[in-house]
Amino acid sequence: MTNIVIKSEDLGKRYLIGHDSTKGRYQSLQETLLNQLRRFSRSARDIIQGRLHVDGDVVEEFWALRNVSFEVEAGSAVGIIGRNGAGKSTLLKVLSRITDPTEGRVEIRGRVASLLEVGTGFHPELSGRENIFLNGTILGMSQNEIKSRFDEIVDFAEIEQFLDTPVKRYSSGMYVRLAFAVAAHLEPEILVVDEVLAVGDADFQRKCLGKMNAVAETGRTVLFVSHNMAAISSLTRSVLMLDRGEVIFSGPTEQAISKYGSMTQASNVLNEAGQKKKGDHTNIRAARLLSEDGTPLATYLPGNRFKIELEVETDGTRGLSCDLFLVDEKKMRTALGSMSHFEGSTLPLEPGVYTVLMTFEPINLASGQYTIDITTSLVNHSWDHYIENALSFEVLYSNAAGLAWDHRQEYGYGNFSLTFALPTLITHVAHTEY
């Protein structure tokens, strides 16, 4: 007897996108009227025949999924990764029967519960208690199942006091906790989860991840979509990687993550379009982001050194310095590195083109996208040549030590490097009540 619980063969999903070929072109009144009439009769035909109607007179096909074939074994946890628009969500929607595939076939053995969003169907006017039942039923639990897990759910969500308050009066944190708590107590044979861990505060995220881990360990099959490589690497053994609707890799998690890293859109060569101010005394001619051993770097693993190599032309003015800003996803400058301000050196006084190599000591950066603004500055602290978004790189996950929880940028710029001495015992305490 086979052990395959999900088997997908050449799965494809097509969307039709309509364009209006006449838009923006001069038209006579007669043409316009005729076109309207034609369009109207076509719409009417589509409506009556119950066919999908597409606006516009030129219809373009768009394959959100194409030739997707894979197999999932019982009891395995499989990650699905890919860039935005790679087709991950469409695949989950097809697997959870929300939308029909256009071609291909999937066989699924066992009860599937899909969690494409936390709190689906929550009604703001209803109380927490009522919403637990509502949401539980929507996710496919029976009344008895919900009753037997009710206390656990309330405990998990930490909302005992507010059980009878309408959820519209909940803080967003409470709302998300309750929503996830219900979902976390589903016990299907196959669990399909979209990026739902990206909610709540750090503590709660860790709790959710722990719960997901526990689900995976009880031998249930889990399909898990995420952008969070730390979660993917701690939860799954194998990964399906999608790009533009097609499977481009299927195999062990570690390999998939390193492949994913190399596909990043980060740019390790100078982006000249970012020039904000032309220099009067200097010209930044090139910039490269390198790893410690000198190979081009696009993803940075916290805890390692990295280098930036600049090619700068100077007219020899005294006190010129090369400075860098590290900028996070929210366009906030998070850190400054400077030749003159912190290191006390400047560009040479002899006019010419120089290579400047800077080596960065390990930084424990939070995960996410970063860009670097490169600038030269004069001694009076005004910018000379300024290039915004000159380089970019990505931190796939913050946790070089491989611990599960991923520290993302919203929780701050990074984490401290700490060395812990062994806790030394001061005195024994008989009971621990806090």
Partner: protein, 278 residues
Amino acid sequence: MTLNEERLLIIEPGRSDQQYWSDLWRYRGLFATLAWRDIAVRYKQTVIGASWAVLRPFLVMVVFTFIFGRVAGLPSDGDVPYAILVFAGMLPWFLFATMLGDASGSLVANTQLVGKIYFPRMIIPGAASMVSLVDFFISFLILFLMMLWYGFMPDIRILMLPVFIILALITGLGPSLLFGALNVRYRDFRYIIPFVIQFGLYVSPVGFSSSVISEKWRLLYSLNPMTGVIDGFRWCLLAGESNLYLPGLLLGACVAFLFLWFGVYYFRATEKSFADVI
């Protein structure tokens, strides 16, 4: 882990057809929960709550009794007080109208569910229709109070009433499914439906007895399925003072079933694309 061969689910283009009706049955728990939700939230944060279910038809009844009974001087059926004649017609009409209004907009109101969870979509308009049934039974109490007030008692025919309640539901369900499905893609129907309901109130024999229609036009008039339903209600409730025009009733029922068939057909044909276009 043992695998249950019977639970094999196959997803293919156009495949869901075969298991649709058994799925509908399997998801009855969701149906009940959604119906309960719609009922529970209907009068939340209103001051007089479920009294609205009573007040709306009552006020319309007062106005209609005045305009059709007093001003226009239309005759009642036999000795029935005009107010009771109007209210007996208003009960099925409001059942139909609330159902059509709520159910046809229900899919769009539940966009989140449709886009994120699988279930037979017919559950949503179905559950929404249940709310109108609750309103119906509440306003039914008013009819009994009015009958006590006028000292007018129905006879044994009232036992036939469930048949006409079901006919009213069927009459409402067909257009609800049709308009509900159309509304998903063409929000134009959001504007059409209130108009249909308003128009229908005057076209159907709500404010007057259908016996005022001349014999010549009676069969044509019965093409409106609500005519048969309302006549049926009056026949059941008004102690034999109201006559049942049988050919008209049958014709109306046929129209209602035709609508139901077409509603189900259209709903099923477009259902699979709901998540893509809603």
